[in-house]
């Protein structure tokens, strides 16, 4: 089963970076891809993300998301084609040969362009967040966030939300199988679909609530919320981190220059 956004234990370049460096990386990359609208620039960024992933030994993990991205990109492009037409017409979603409705729903350069920009941005954001999360041990993240003064309860909440994604996936699968064995068939039509959700979601949520009770007691009984703490194996910013941040700074300045020249 694909493990969504879970830490992958390896010893690569990204794993050795300090969480701060990686947070700076995510922020810089996100800002750039949201501001930029140039297709070439965004494509180069995607290539850069993949190169970075490959360098850190995480290309395989990142490419697992390709299916999701492909589906989302088709959705984005179809929506923008329908809602934001503009510029030259390249063709029609319904071929002109079809009687009566043929030639409607034009594929325009403007619509296509916006759809592609959204897709690329989406890809870059997903890759950047994923690289950060799968290469950072939660306890390093806890240390880093505590240092910047974030309350421990919020940090634990964030970590637990991520940690339990695969647990819920597996549990959902088991519930689904148990109901299938009782002849459950997912309904048809809109109301059928909604109604058929109950046999899966109710056990999933009830079990999760019971589990959260034990989880809460465990957190207290292990003293995670005491605040007092000895930091062992703590990460410190090293030359590698400063180098990456310098690269990010240069890229940022370069990006602003390109922006002022209206090239991105």
């Amino acid at each position: 089963m694909a493990e969504i956004l879970q830490y992958v234990h390896k010893d690569g370049f990204l794993h050795r970076l300090h969480p701060y460096t990686k947070i700076a990386f995510v922020i810089a990359v996100s800002l750039m891809c949201i501001i930029a609208t140039d297709l070439t620039f965004l494509t180069l960024m995607v290539v850069a993300m993949l190169a970075f992933a490959a360098y850190g030994g995480l290309l395989g993990e990142v490419l697992q998301q390709l299916k999701l991205i492909l589906v989302m990109s088709v959705v984005f492009i179809v929506i923008t084609l329908l809602t934001m037409p503009g510029g030259d017409v390249l063709g029609y979603l319904i071929p002109t040969a079809v009687p009566l409705i043929g030639g409607s729903l034009p594929i325009t350069v403007g619509g296509l362009n916006i759809g592609l920009v959204l897709t690329l941005r989406f890809m870059i954001l997903i890759f950047a967040f994923q690289l950060f999360l799968i290469s950072t041990q939660p306890r390093d993240l806890v240390h880093a966030m505590e240092k910047v003064g974030m309350p421990i309860d919020y940090i634990l909440m964030f970590i637990i939300a991520l940690r339990f994604i695969p647990t819920l996936q597996i549990e959902g699968q088991r519930i689904h199988e148990a109901q299938l064995a009782r002849g459950y068939n997912p309904g048809t039509g809109f109301t059928g679909k909604i109604r058929s959700v109950a046999p899966i979601v109710i056990p999933l949520v009830s079990n999760a609530l019971i589990r959260s009770n034990v989880l809460g007691l465990t957190i207290d009984m292990r003293g995670y919320r005491t605040g007092q703490k000895t930091h062992v194996r703590e990460r410190v910013l090293v030359t590698r981190d400063y180098a990456v941040m310098a690269v990010l700074a240069v890229a940022g300045v370069g990006f602003i220059a390109l922006l002022l020249a209206q090239m991105v």
């Binding site: 493990e3 041990q137 148990a178 064995a181 056990p203 009984m221 919320r225």
Partner: protein
């Protein structure tokens, strides 16, 4: 070390007390094992003895609890209590918060005000005690239930407390994993730890238990040296169940109609082969036990009977129909499958509605006769209007079986139906299965329990690494 005097407790919004005038003393370095039916108040006792009940729960509380000579009210908070007592709960999944085993233990060690050197030293020691060396870098979803439970225990040990309270630490575990936990606990006791252990599996822990306590309906009904307590035949039946008195059916004739025929079945999860070239015929009316270690392919095999899984190669034929040509819903009429955890199926507002769900799915009209029959079969006639999740674990297990029985499949498959049950509850389940066999159903049970396999089944199939290594018929 822990002393409870006349402790009574009633949960908010309930009428009956979960604990009723409990008095118990756990001296330093000793081990008390608490046992009893599900719903008897054992978990509430763990919560009371650890002070959690006092600090975290509302409801009506009476009596006094002291830990290490201090009353629980004198402790400022749970974090304060956590410096004196460690608690391991029954759900190992909920006790893993971080993403690798080492990280989990290390994070618990960091909150003890120790120096970094001492922490590293203790970490190494705990990993050794809990046999976790090879698993250090694994993530929670790549661990078995037994391994997770060892991690939860290790993270609790990291706190360095002398008192440990364990609430059914082996309930979901197989024979091998239970033995491992028992070995670890025996070592801890030898080191001088004080243990309060809630367990059903007395047999695994008999050498380390100083006092055996039996709880029923919120009260202690017996307490003393294990040998003395076990002299009472009723209690003995609960603690050390004897399945040798289960009356077996007359042997099924070798020419009885085959209901499940497996020919050259292989199945792979991705690159991992889970089943290898299995050949098996199960005949109408048989009571078959499937045994084997975790990961030997037992559940994978039975999931083929109702097509939750389809063969990578080979065929599975159920009642003359090749499963390849049937849908799961169609096969639900022929094969009923009850999974290990009953809580994976309950969603209705009442026991009756829960059973009706399967019947509606099969399009059976006027199901109320079938529902009533299934309820009485499961001994739940009086609970028809209750909310399923309010039932005790033993009752929920029987309800899960009733849900499948009402659909009247010829073959009933059960995955670990006696997990987490005491001797009497397990016996109720087994007797129910025997009655169903008498009525002509074919019963297939996956079990870790060798006693059940040898005494209740006509035929025992042993699996190992995706292969059937033994297939024996009882006398």
């Amino acid at each position: 070390m822990i002393e409870l005097k006349n402790v009574s407790y009633t949960y908010p919004h309930t009428a009956h007390p979960a604990l009723d005038r409990i008095s118990l003393t756990l001296p330093k370095g000793r081990c008390i094992m608490v046992t009893g039916p599900s719903g008897a108040g054992k978990t509430s006792l763990c919560l009371a003895a650890s002070g959690i009940l006092h600090h975290e729960f509302g409801g009506k509380k009476e009596g006094t609890v002291s830990i290490g000579g201090r009353g629980v009210a004198e402790y400022k908070s749970l974090s304060d209590l956590a410096r004196n007592v460690g608690v391991v709960f029954d759900d190992p999944e909920a006790q893993m918060i971080f993403t690798t085993v080492e990280e989990e233990i290390l994070s618990a060690l960091e909150h003890r005000g120790l120096s970094a050197d001492v922490i590293e030293e203790r970490l190494a020691g705990i990993i050794r005690i809990a046999y976790l060396d090879e698993l250090k870098d694994r993530s929670p979803h790549n661990l078995s239930g037994g391994q997770k439970q060892r991690v939860a225990l290790a993270a609790t040990l990291a706190l360095g407390n002398d008192i440990l309270i364990l609430d059914e630490p082996t309930s979901e575990l197989d024979d091998h994993a239970t033995k491992r936990i028992a070995t670890i606990l025996a070592d801890l006791k030898a080191q001088g730890k004080t243990l309060l252990l809630v367990e059903h599996k007395y047999g695994y822990f008999r050498d380390m238990v100083d006092t055996l306590v039996v709880m029923e309906n919120g009260t202690i009904t017996a307490s003393g040296v294990p040998d003395e307590v076990l002299k009472d035949s009723r209690l003995r039946g609960m603690i050390l169940p004897d399945f040798s008195t289960v009356a077996k059916a007359a042997p099924v004739k070798s020419d009885a109609a085959p209901v499940v025929t497996v020919s050259h079945l292989s199945y792979s999860y991705g690159d991992v082969e889970a089943l290898h070239d299995l050949i098996l015929t199960i005949r109408k009316g048989e009571f078959v036990a499937v045994v084997g270690e975790n990961g030997s392919g037992k559940t994978t095999l039975v999931k083929h009977f109702n097509r939750l899984l389809s063969p990578t190669s080979g065929d599975v034929v159920v009642n003359g129909k090749n499963t390849k040509n049937c849908s799961i819903a169609e096969l639900a009429r022929d094969v009923g499958l009850v999974f290990q955890n009953p809580d994976h199926m309950f969603f209705a507002d009442s026991v009756r509605d829960e059973i009706a769900f399967g019947l509606k799915n099969l399009g059976i009209e006027n199901g109320s006769t079938a529902i009533d029959a299934a309820l009485s079969e499961a001994g739940l006639s009086g609970s028809a209007d209750l909310y399923p999740r309010w039932l005790s674990r033993g009752e929920r297990q029987r309800l899960a079986i009733a849900c499948v029985v009402a659909m009247q499949p010829g073959v009933i498959v059960l995955d670990e139906p006696t997990t987490g049950l005491d001797g009497y509850e397990a016996r109720l389940v087994i007797d129910m299965l025997r009655r169903l066999q008498e009525k002509g159903h074919t019963i297939i049970v996956i079990t870790h329990n060798r006693e059940i396999a040898t005494h209740c089944a006509d035929r025992v199939i042993t699996m190992e690494n995706g292969r059937i290594v033994a297939d024996t018929r009882g006398a």
